[in-house]
Amino acid sequence: MTAISLGNVDIGYGGQRVVEAVTFDVARGESFALVGESGSGKSTVLKALVGLAPEWSGKMSVLGRSCVHRPDRDLARRCQMVFQDPYGSLHPRKTVDAVLSEPLTIHGIGGQDARVERALSDVGLDRRFRFRYPHQMSGGQRQRVAIARALMLEPEVMLLDEPTSALDVSVQAEILNLLKRLRAERGLTYLMVTHNLPVVSFLCDRMAVMNKGKIVEIAATKALHDGRFTDPYSKALYAASGGGGSTE
Protein backbone atom coordinates (compact mmCIF):
# COMPACT_ATOMS: atom_id res chain seq x y z
CA MET A 1 0.00 0.00 0.00
CA THR A 2 1.32 3.40 -0.82
CA ALA A 3 1.48 5.93 1.96
CA ILE A 4 0.07 8.83 -0.05
CA SER A 5 -1.63 8.68 -3.39
CA LEU A 6 -2.93 11.52 -5.53
CA GLY A 7 -4.73 10.94 -8.81
CA ASN A 8 -5.63 13.84 -11.08
CA VAL A 9 -6.32 16.19 -8.19
CA ASP A 10 -7.61 19.71 -8.83
CA ILE A 11 -7.69 22.11 -5.93
CA GLY A 12 -9.49 25.42 -5.88
CA TYR A 13 -9.32 28.40 -3.60
CA GLY A 14 -12.08 30.97 -3.59
CA GLY A 15 -13.35 29.80 -6.92
CA GLN A 16 -10.01 29.84 -8.68
CA ARG A 17 -8.14 26.69 -9.56
CA VAL A 18 -4.73 26.77 -7.94
CA VAL A 19 -3.65 23.17 -8.44
CA GLU A 20 -4.36 21.20 -11.59
CA ALA A 21 -4.24 17.52 -12.44
CA VAL A 22 -1.67 16.58 -9.82
CA THR A 23 -0.76 12.91 -9.76
CA PHE A 24 1.94 11.22 -7.73
CA ASP A 25 2.47 8.43 -5.21
CA VAL A 26 4.62 8.27 -2.12
CA ALA A 27 5.67 4.84 -0.96
CA ARG A 28 5.70 3.87 2.69
CA GLY A 29 8.90 4.92 4.38
CA GLU A 30 9.81 7.21 1.50
CA SER A 31 10.75 10.87 1.79
CA PHE A 32 9.20 12.86 -1.03
CA ALA A 33 9.56 16.56 -1.76
CA LEU A 34 7.23 18.98 -3.49
CA VAL A 35 9.39 21.74 -4.82
CA GLY A 36 8.36 25.04 -6.31
CA GLU A 37 8.26 28.76 -5.87
CA SER A 38 5.59 30.81 -4.20
CA GLY A 39 2.27 30.44 -5.96
CA SER A 40 3.14 27.01 -7.32
CA GLY A 41 0.44 25.39 -5.20
CA LYS A 42 2.72 23.08 -3.28
CA SER A 43 1.48 24.04 0.18
CA THR A 44 -2.10 23.82 -1.06
CA VAL A 45 -1.58 20.15 -1.88
CA LEU A 46 -0.57 19.47 1.73
CA LYS A 47 -3.52 21.38 3.06
CA ALA A 48 -5.92 19.48 0.86
CA LEU A 49 -4.53 16.15 2.08
CA VAL A 50 -5.46 16.99 5.66
CA GLY A 51 -8.74 18.67 4.85
CA LEU A 52 -7.73 22.28 5.35
CA ALA A 53 -8.39 23.13 1.69
CA PRO A 54 -11.80 21.61 1.08
CA GLU A 55 -12.31 22.67 -2.54
CA TRP A 56 -10.75 19.73 -4.31
CA SER A 57 -11.71 16.99 -6.74
CA GLY A 58 -9.96 13.85 -7.87
CA LYS A 59 -8.60 10.89 -5.93
CA MET A 60 -6.60 11.37 -2.76
CA SER A 61 -5.78 8.74 -0.18
CA VAL A 62 -3.48 8.35 2.78
CA LEU A 63 -2.45 4.85 3.85
CA GLY A 64 -5.18 3.33 1.76
CA ARG A 65 -8.07 5.41 3.11
CA SER A 66 -9.64 8.09 0.94
CA CYS A 67 -9.30 11.63 2.13
CA VAL A 68 -12.29 13.70 3.10
CA HIS A 69 -12.88 17.37 2.66
CA ARG A 70 -12.37 18.42 6.28
CA PRO A 71 -10.03 17.51 9.16
CA ASP A 72 -10.64 13.92 10.16
CA ARG A 73 -10.13 12.40 13.60
CA ASP A 74 -9.10 9.04 12.23
CA LEU A 75 -6.63 10.58 9.86
CA ALA A 76 -5.11 12.45 12.80
CA ARG A 77 -3.67 9.24 14.18
CA ARG A 78 -2.06 8.28 10.92
CA CYS A 79 -0.96 11.57 9.41
CA GLN A 80 0.21 14.83 10.98
CA MET A 81 1.66 18.11 9.78
CA VAL A 82 4.46 20.43 10.83
CA PHE A 83 3.94 24.03 9.81
CA GLN A 84 6.37 26.57 8.53
CA ASP A 85 6.20 29.36 11.02
CA PRO A 86 7.39 28.38 14.49
CA TYR A 87 6.03 31.65 15.75
CA GLY A 88 2.51 30.93 14.62
CA SER A 89 2.03 27.23 15.12
CA LEU A 90 2.05 27.28 18.92
CA HIS A 91 -0.72 28.84 20.98
CA PRO A 92 0.82 31.83 22.77
CA ARG A 93 -0.90 31.10 26.06
CA LYS A 94 -0.16 27.41 26.38
CA THR A 95 2.89 25.88 27.95
CA VAL A 96 4.81 23.19 26.10
CA ASP A 97 3.26 20.67 28.44
CA ALA A 98 -0.26 21.82 27.54
CA VAL A 99 0.54 21.76 23.83
CA LEU A 100 1.87 18.22 23.99
CA SER A 101 -0.85 16.88 26.28
CA GLU A 102 -3.67 18.16 24.14
CA PRO A 103 -3.57 15.49 21.43
CA LEU A 104 -3.50 12.82 24.12
CA THR A 105 -6.53 14.31 25.86
CA ILE A 106 -8.45 14.62 22.61
CA HIS A 107 -7.97 10.95 21.81
CA GLY A 108 -8.26 9.71 25.37
CA ILE A 109 -4.72 8.36 25.57
CA GLY A 110 -3.43 7.82 29.08
CA GLY A 111 -0.02 7.99 30.67
CA GLN A 112 0.31 11.61 29.62
CA ASP A 113 3.13 12.52 31.94
CA ALA A 114 5.45 9.80 30.67
CA ARG A 115 4.55 10.39 27.06
CA VAL A 116 5.16 14.13 27.26
CA GLU A 117 8.55 13.60 28.86
CA ARG A 118 9.52 11.03 26.26
CA ALA A 119 8.38 13.29 23.42
CA LEU A 120 10.55 16.11 24.73
CA SER A 121 13.62 13.92 24.88
CA ASP A 122 12.87 12.48 21.43
CA VAL A 123 13.12 15.92 19.88
CA GLY A 124 16.16 16.87 21.90
CA LEU A 125 14.53 19.27 24.34
CA ASP A 126 15.60 19.32 27.94
CA ARG A 127 13.01 18.76 30.70
CA ARG A 128 13.32 22.35 31.79
CA PHE A 129 11.41 23.43 28.70
CA ARG A 130 8.33 21.55 29.73
CA PHE A 131 6.45 24.40 31.39
CA ARG A 132 7.74 27.28 29.31
CA TYR A 133 5.59 29.47 27.16
CA PRO A 134 6.38 29.93 23.45
CA HIS A 135 7.68 33.46 23.87
CA GLN A 136 10.31 32.10 26.24
CA MET A 137 11.79 29.88 23.55
CA SER A 138 13.77 30.41 20.37
CA GLY A 139 12.51 29.61 16.88
CA GLY A 140 14.39 26.33 16.75
CA GLN A 141 13.06 25.23 20.12
CA ARG A 142 9.51 26.07 19.10
CA GLN A 143 9.87 24.08 15.94
CA ARG A 144 11.03 21.11 17.97
CA VAL A 145 7.88 21.43 20.07
CA ALA A 146 5.82 21.54 16.88
CA ILE A 147 7.52 18.36 15.70
CA ALA A 148 6.96 16.72 19.08
CA ARG A 149 3.29 17.66 18.93
CA ALA A 150 2.98 16.10 15.51
CA LEU A 151 4.53 12.90 16.80
CA MET A 152 2.37 12.57 19.93
CA LEU A 153 -0.27 10.54 18.13
CA GLU A 154 2.41 8.35 16.58
CA PRO A 155 1.45 8.91 12.96
CA GLU A 156 3.04 7.02 10.14
CA VAL A 157 2.96 9.89 7.69
CA MET A 158 4.35 13.35 8.33
CA LEU A 159 3.60 16.35 6.15
CA LEU A 160 6.26 19.04 6.45
CA ASP A 161 5.41 22.51 5.19
CA GLU A 162 8.73 24.34 4.77
CA PRO A 163 9.77 23.28 8.27
CA THR A 164 13.09 25.12 8.30
CA SER A 165 12.52 28.16 6.08
CA ALA A 166 12.04 30.51 8.98
CA LEU A 167 15.10 29.30 10.89
CA ASP A 168 18.73 30.36 11.00
CA VAL A 169 21.31 28.28 9.15
CA SER A 170 22.76 26.66 12.24
CA VAL A 171 19.34 25.92 13.70
CA GLN A 172 18.16 24.59 10.35
CA ALA A 173 20.95 22.07 10.38
CA GLU A 174 19.87 20.81 13.80
CA ILE A 175 16.22 20.48 12.81
CA LEU A 176 17.11 18.72 9.56
CA ASN A 177 19.25 16.26 11.45
CA LEU A 178 16.40 15.69 13.88
CA LEU A 179 13.92 15.04 11.08
CA LYS A 180 16.30 12.62 9.42
CA ARG A 181 16.93 10.75 12.65
CA LEU A 182 13.24 10.51 13.53
CA ARG A 183 12.45 9.11 10.13
CA ALA A 184 15.14 6.47 10.44
CA GLU A 185 14.07 5.53 13.97
CA ARG A 186 10.35 5.33 13.35
CA GLY A 187 10.11 4.42 9.69
CA LEU A 188 8.12 7.54 8.91
CA THR A 189 6.96 8.64 5.50
CA TYR A 190 7.67 12.29 4.71
CA LEU A 191 5.99 14.55 2.23
CA MET A 192 7.88 17.81 2.41
CA VAL A 193 7.12 21.10 0.74
CA THR A 194 10.03 23.45 0.18
CA HIS A 195 11.64 25.88 -2.22
CA ASN A 196 15.13 25.02 -1.00
CA LEU A 197 16.75 22.41 -3.24
CA PRO A 198 19.79 21.62 -1.07
CA VAL A 199 17.44 20.70 1.80
CA VAL A 200 15.73 18.28 -0.57
CA SER A 201 19.11 16.84 -1.44
CA PHE A 202 19.79 16.13 2.22
CA LEU A 203 16.43 14.86 3.37
CA CYS A 204 14.49 13.36 0.46
CA ASP A 205 14.56 10.43 -1.93
CA ARG A 206 12.37 11.74 -4.71
CA MET A 207 10.98 15.08 -5.70
CA ALA A 208 8.23 16.62 -7.81
CA VAL A 209 8.72 20.07 -9.29
CA MET A 210 5.61 22.23 -9.38
CA ASN A 211 5.01 25.30 -11.45
CA LYS A 212 1.81 27.33 -11.46
CA GLY A 213 -0.25 24.54 -9.98
CA LYS A 214 1.00 21.70 -12.14
CA ILE A 215 3.65 19.07 -11.66
CA VAL A 216 6.20 19.52 -14.42
CA GLU A 217 8.61 16.79 -13.44
CA ILE A 218 9.11 13.97 -10.97
CA ALA A 219 12.68 12.86 -10.40
CA ALA A 220 14.95 11.16 -7.92
CA THR A 221 16.91 13.62 -5.78
CA LYS A 222 20.05 12.21 -7.30
CA ALA A 223 19.16 14.48 -10.21
CA LEU A 224 20.29 17.35 -8.03
CA HIS A 225 23.82 16.01 -8.06
CA ASP A 226 24.31 16.54 -11.75
CA GLY A 227 21.35 18.65 -12.79
CA ARG A 228 19.87 15.97 -14.96
CA PHE A 229 16.39 17.42 -15.33
CA THR A 230 14.26 17.19 -18.42
CA ASP A 231 11.73 19.96 -17.98
CA PRO A 232 12.93 23.49 -18.83
CA TYR A 233 11.35 24.98 -15.70
CA SER A 234 13.09 22.43 -13.50
CA LYS A 235 16.37 23.25 -15.16
CA ALA A 236 15.84 26.97 -14.65
CA LEU A 237 14.93 26.45 -11.00
CA TYR A 238 17.99 24.27 -10.52
CA ALA A 239 20.25 26.86 -12.06
CA ALA A 240 18.76 29.75 -10.10
CA SER A 241 19.24 27.82 -6.87
CA GLY A 242 22.94 27.67 -7.54
CA GLY A 243 23.03 24.28 -9.19
CA GLY A 244 26.42 23.17 -10.43
CA GLY A 245 27.38 24.31 -13.87
CA SER A 246 25.43 27.57 -13.79
CA THR A 247 27.29 30.83 -14.30
CA GLU A 248 26.78 33.42 -11.64
Partner: protein, 280 residues
Protein backbone atom coordinates in the same frame (compact mmCIF):
# COMPACT_ATOMS: atom_id res chain seq x y z
CA UNK B 1 40.89 57.98 2.39
CA UNK B 2 38.28 55.30 2.88
CA UNK B 3 34.70 56.11 1.97
CA UNK B 4 33.40 54.78 5.26
CA UNK B 5 35.36 54.18 8.40
CA UNK B 6 33.78 52.54 11.44
CA UNK B 7 35.60 52.32 14.75
CA UNK B 8 34.43 50.54 17.87
CA UNK B 9 30.76 50.82 16.96
CA UNK B 10 28.43 49.81 19.77
CA UNK B 11 24.64 49.67 19.72
CA UNK B 12 22.88 48.89 22.96
CA UNK B 13 19.29 48.41 24.06
CA UNK B 14 17.82 48.16 27.53
CA UNK B 15 16.62 44.77 28.68
CA UNK B 16 15.36 43.28 31.94
CA UNK B 17 18.97 42.23 32.60
CA UNK B 18 20.41 45.70 32.03
CA UNK B 19 21.77 47.23 28.84
CA UNK B 20 22.65 44.72 26.16
CA UNK B 21 25.12 45.41 23.34
CA UNK B 22 23.59 44.09 20.16
CA UNK B 23 26.58 45.46 18.28
CA UNK B 24 29.60 45.04 20.49
CA UNK B 25 32.51 47.13 19.30
CA UNK B 26 33.05 46.49 15.60
CA UNK B 27 35.53 48.27 13.37
CA UNK B 28 35.93 48.14 9.62
CA UNK B 29 36.70 50.30 6.61
CA UNK B 30 34.96 50.49 3.30
CA UNK B 31 36.42 51.75 0.08
CA UNK B 32 35.07 51.66 -3.44
CA UNK B 33 34.05 48.01 -3.10
CA UNK B 34 31.26 45.57 -2.32
CA UNK B 35 31.30 44.46 1.30
CA UNK B 36 29.18 41.65 2.63
CA UNK B 37 28.14 41.42 6.27
CA UNK B 38 26.96 37.94 7.14
CA UNK B 39 25.40 36.65 10.31
CA UNK B 40 22.43 34.86 11.76
CA UNK B 41 19.55 36.53 13.52
CA UNK B 42 20.75 38.36 16.58
CA UNK B 43 24.25 38.83 15.19
CA UNK B 44 23.81 42.59 14.94
CA UNK B 45 24.24 42.87 11.18
CA UNK B 46 20.99 44.74 10.54
CA UNK B 47 21.62 47.00 13.50
CA UNK B 48 24.97 47.93 12.01
CA UNK B 49 23.27 49.07 8.83
CA UNK B 50 20.71 51.07 10.76
CA UNK B 51 23.36 52.61 12.96
CA UNK B 52 25.21 53.88 9.91
CA UNK B 53 22.09 55.72 8.82
CA UNK B 54 21.42 56.95 12.36
CA UNK B 55 18.07 55.23 12.30
CA UNK B 56 18.29 53.90 15.81
CA UNK B 57 16.10 55.78 18.25
CA UNK B 58 16.16 55.89 22.01
CA UNK B 59 16.06 53.76 24.10
CA UNK B 60 18.65 52.34 21.71
CA UNK B 61 22.03 53.97 21.99
CA UNK B 62 24.84 54.20 19.43
CA UNK B 63 28.43 54.75 20.49
CA UNK B 64 31.68 54.72 18.63
CA UNK B 65 32.98 56.49 15.55
CA UNK B 66 31.52 56.42 12.06
CA UNK B 67 33.15 58.58 9.40
CA UNK B 68 31.60 58.86 5.98
CA UNK B 69 33.34 60.91 3.28
CA UNK B 70 35.39 62.41 6.08
CA UNK B 71 32.35 63.52 8.11
CA UNK B 72 31.67 62.19 11.57
CA UNK B 73 28.17 60.74 11.25
CA UNK B 74 27.47 60.75 14.97
CA UNK B 75 28.21 64.45 15.24
CA UNK B 76 25.94 65.62 12.43
CA UNK B 77 22.69 67.34 13.29
CA UNK B 78 19.48 65.57 12.37
CA UNK B 79 18.95 68.05 9.54
CA UNK B 80 22.32 67.27 8.02
CA UNK B 81 21.71 63.58 8.50
CA UNK B 82 18.44 63.87 6.61
CA UNK B 83 20.24 65.52 3.75
CA UNK B 84 22.68 62.61 3.76
CA UNK B 85 20.10 59.85 3.87
CA UNK B 86 18.98 58.93 0.44
CA UNK B 87 21.29 61.39 -1.26
CA UNK B 88 24.64 60.01 -0.14
CA UNK B 89 23.75 56.82 1.73
CA UNK B 90 20.71 54.74 0.76
CA UNK B 91 19.19 51.58 2.16
CA UNK B 92 17.18 48.82 0.55
CA UNK B 93 15.24 46.66 2.95
CA UNK B 94 13.95 43.17 2.89
CA UNK B 95 10.29 43.12 2.00
CA UNK B 96 9.02 45.63 -0.56
CA UNK B 97 5.48 44.93 0.66
CA UNK B 98 6.32 46.65 3.91
CA UNK B 99 8.73 49.30 2.74
CA UNK B 100 6.64 50.77 -0.08
CA UNK B 101 3.85 53.17 0.74
CA UNK B 102 0.59 51.39 -0.05
CA UNK B 103 -1.45 54.50 -0.85
CA UNK B 104 0.91 56.19 -3.30
CA UNK B 105 1.62 55.12 -6.82
CA UNK B 106 5.06 53.83 -7.60
CA UNK B 107 5.90 56.79 -9.79
CA UNK B 108 4.92 59.26 -7.09
CA UNK B 109 7.07 57.54 -4.52
CA UNK B 110 10.14 57.46 -6.71
CA UNK B 111 9.57 61.08 -7.68
CA UNK B 112 9.31 62.00 -4.02
CA UNK B 113 12.63 60.32 -3.31
CA UNK B 114 14.13 62.56 -5.96
CA UNK B 115 12.35 65.76 -4.95
CA UNK B 116 13.52 65.51 -1.36
CA UNK B 117 17.10 66.03 -2.49
CA UNK B 118 16.97 67.84 -5.79
CA UNK B 119 14.79 70.66 -7.02
CA UNK B 120 13.83 69.90 -10.58
CA UNK B 121 10.96 70.89 -12.86
CA UNK B 122 8.16 68.38 -13.05
CA UNK B 123 8.91 67.17 -16.53
CA UNK B 124 12.47 66.45 -15.66
CA UNK B 125 11.42 64.57 -12.57
CA UNK B 126 9.14 62.41 -14.68
CA UNK B 127 11.91 61.78 -17.16
CA UNK B 128 14.33 60.80 -14.43
CA UNK B 129 11.73 58.43 -12.90
CA UNK B 130 11.20 56.79 -16.27
CA UNK B 131 14.92 56.51 -16.80
CA UNK B 132 15.40 54.95 -13.38
CA UNK B 133 12.65 52.40 -13.90
CA UNK B 134 14.30 51.57 -17.18
CA UNK B 135 17.65 51.05 -15.57
CA UNK B 136 16.17 48.59 -13.10
CA UNK B 137 14.96 46.64 -16.14
CA UNK B 138 11.24 47.23 -15.80
CA UNK B 139 9.87 46.78 -19.26
CA UNK B 140 6.90 49.15 -19.30
CA UNK B 141 8.05 52.03 -17.10
CA UNK B 142 5.17 54.40 -17.79
CA UNK B 143 2.57 51.81 -16.97
CA UNK B 144 4.38 50.59 -13.86
CA UNK B 145 4.76 54.18 -12.63
CA UNK B 146 0.99 54.32 -12.30
CA UNK B 147 0.66 51.12 -10.29
CA UNK B 148 0.27 50.77 -6.54
CA UNK B 149 2.55 48.69 -4.35
CA UNK B 150 0.11 45.81 -3.94
CA UNK B 151 -0.17 45.42 -7.70
CA UNK B 152 3.50 44.54 -8.02
CA UNK B 153 5.09 41.14 -7.80
CA UNK B 154 7.84 40.61 -5.26
CA UNK B 155 10.63 41.00 -7.74
CA UNK B 156 9.14 44.09 -9.33
CA UNK B 157 8.50 45.63 -5.96
CA UNK B 158 12.12 45.20 -5.03
CA UNK B 159 13.23 46.75 -8.30
CA UNK B 160 10.99 49.73 -7.60
CA UNK B 161 12.59 49.94 -4.18
CA UNK B 162 16.03 49.94 -5.78
CA UNK B 163 14.94 52.60 -8.25
CA UNK B 164 13.66 54.73 -5.40
CA UNK B 165 16.85 54.37 -3.41
CA UNK B 166 19.26 54.90 -6.29
CA UNK B 167 17.60 57.77 -8.08
CA UNK B 168 19.40 60.41 -5.99
CA UNK B 169 22.69 58.71 -6.93
CA UNK B 170 24.07 57.89 -3.49
CA UNK B 171 27.71 56.99 -2.89
CA UNK B 172 26.89 54.13 -0.56
CA UNK B 173 24.10 51.60 -0.88
CA UNK B 174 23.24 49.42 2.09
CA UNK B 175 21.15 46.41 1.10
CA UNK B 176 19.66 44.60 4.10
CA UNK B 177 18.55 41.14 3.02
CA UNK B 178 17.36 42.49 -0.33
CA UNK B 179 16.33 39.14 -1.73
CA UNK B 180 15.26 37.07 1.27
CA UNK B 181 11.57 37.64 0.62
CA UNK B 182 11.85 36.83 -3.08
CA UNK B 183 11.54 33.63 -5.01
CA UNK B 184 14.73 31.85 -5.93
CA UNK B 185 14.47 32.56 -9.63
CA UNK B 186 13.96 36.25 -9.03
CA UNK B 187 16.72 36.52 -6.44
CA UNK B 188 19.46 36.05 -8.96
CA UNK B 189 17.99 38.71 -11.23
CA UNK B 190 17.69 41.29 -8.51
CA UNK B 191 21.19 40.62 -7.19
CA UNK B 192 22.66 40.83 -10.63
CA UNK B 193 20.82 44.11 -11.11
CA UNK B 194 22.26 45.54 -7.91
CA UNK B 195 25.66 44.29 -8.94
CA UNK B 196 25.46 45.94 -12.37
CA UNK B 197 24.18 49.20 -10.96
CA UNK B 198 27.01 49.31 -8.49
CA UNK B 199 29.59 48.58 -11.15
CA UNK B 200 28.13 50.97 -13.69
CA UNK B 201 28.45 53.84 -11.32
CA UNK B 202 32.07 54.21 -12.13
CA UNK B 203 34.48 56.90 -11.02
CA UNK B 204 32.80 59.47 -13.27
CA UNK B 205 29.94 59.84 -10.85
CA UNK B 206 32.00 59.33 -7.73
CA UNK B 207 31.34 55.62 -7.82
CA UNK B 208 29.04 53.63 -5.52
CA UNK B 209 29.99 51.24 -2.78
CA UNK B 210 27.77 48.42 -1.58
CA UNK B 211 27.23 46.90 1.83
CA UNK B 212 25.25 43.69 1.42
CA UNK B 213 23.79 42.36 4.66
CA UNK B 214 22.56 38.79 4.59
CA UNK B 215 22.33 35.51 6.45
CA UNK B 216 23.23 33.63 3.28
CA UNK B 217 26.98 33.09 3.21
CA UNK B 218 27.26 31.48 -0.25
CA UNK B 219 25.16 34.29 -1.73
CA UNK B 220 27.33 36.99 -0.21
CA UNK B 221 30.43 35.18 -1.39
CA UNK B 222 29.11 35.36 -4.94
CA UNK B 223 28.27 39.05 -5.00
CA UNK B 224 30.84 40.74 -2.78
CA UNK B 225 34.53 41.48 -2.81
CA UNK B 226 35.04 41.26 0.93
CA UNK B 227 33.11 39.54 3.68
CA UNK B 228 32.66 40.29 7.37
CA UNK B 229 31.15 37.52 9.47
CA UNK B 230 29.32 38.70 12.58
CA UNK B 231 28.28 36.73 15.60
CA UNK B 232 26.77 38.05 18.83
CA UNK B 233 27.56 41.63 17.90
CA UNK B 234 31.22 41.07 17.01
CA UNK B 235 33.11 40.58 13.79
CA UNK B 236 34.63 37.12 13.93
CA UNK B 237 36.04 36.93 10.43
CA UNK B 238 37.10 39.38 7.77
CA UNK B 239 38.34 38.06 4.46
CA UNK B 240 38.19 38.44 0.71
CA UNK B 241 35.26 36.61 -0.84
CA UNK B 242 37.55 34.47 -2.91
CA UNK B 243 39.35 33.35 0.24
CA UNK B 244 36.21 32.22 2.04
CA UNK B 245 37.18 28.58 1.84
CA UNK B 246 40.34 29.49 3.76
CA UNK B 247 38.30 30.97 6.62
CA UNK B 248 39.82 30.18 9.96
CA UNK B 249 37.29 31.12 12.60
CA UNK B 250 35.30 28.13 13.88
CA UNK B 251 32.01 30.01 13.56
CA UNK B 252 32.58 30.73 9.88
CA UNK B 253 33.68 27.18 9.23
CA UNK B 254 30.67 25.96 11.15
CA UNK B 255 28.31 28.11 9.09
CA UNK B 256 29.87 26.94 5.85
CA UNK B 257 29.60 23.32 6.85
CA UNK B 258 26.06 23.52 8.21
CA UNK B 259 24.50 24.64 4.94
CA UNK B 260 23.22 21.66 2.96
CA UNK B 261 24.71 21.39 -0.50
CA UNK B 262 23.02 20.71 -3.77
CA UNK B 263 24.83 17.40 -4.09
CA UNK B 264 24.46 16.43 -0.47
CA UNK B 265 25.82 13.03 0.55
CA UNK B 266 26.39 13.49 4.26
CA UNK B 267 24.25 11.46 6.62
CA UNK B 268 24.22 14.27 9.12
CA UNK B 269 24.87 18.00 8.96
CA UNK B 270 27.61 19.24 11.26
CA UNK B 271 26.05 21.16 14.08
CA UNK B 272 27.83 24.12 15.60
CA UNK B 273 29.05 23.90 19.13
CA UNK B 274 28.43 27.47 20.16
CA UNK B 275 30.60 27.31 23.22
CA UNK B 276 33.65 27.03 20.99
CA UNK B 277 33.86 30.77 20.45
CA UNK B 278 31.96 32.10 23.41
CA UNK B 279 35.02 33.95 24.54
CA UNK B 280 35.82 35.66 21.24
Amino acid sequence: MALLSVEDLRVSFPSPQGRVNVVDGISFELGQERLGIVGESGSGKSMTGRALLRLIRPPGRVEGRMRFEGQDLAALSERHMRALRGARISMIMQDPRYSLNPVMTVGTQIAEALRVHEHLPRREVRARVRQMLDSVRITDPDRVAGLYAHELSGGMGQRVMIAMMLIPRPRLLIADEPTSALDVSVQADVLRLIDDLVRDRSTADGGMALILISHDLPLVARYCDRILVMNAGRIVESCAASDLHLASHPYTRGLLAAVPKMNETRAELPVMDRSAWAGT
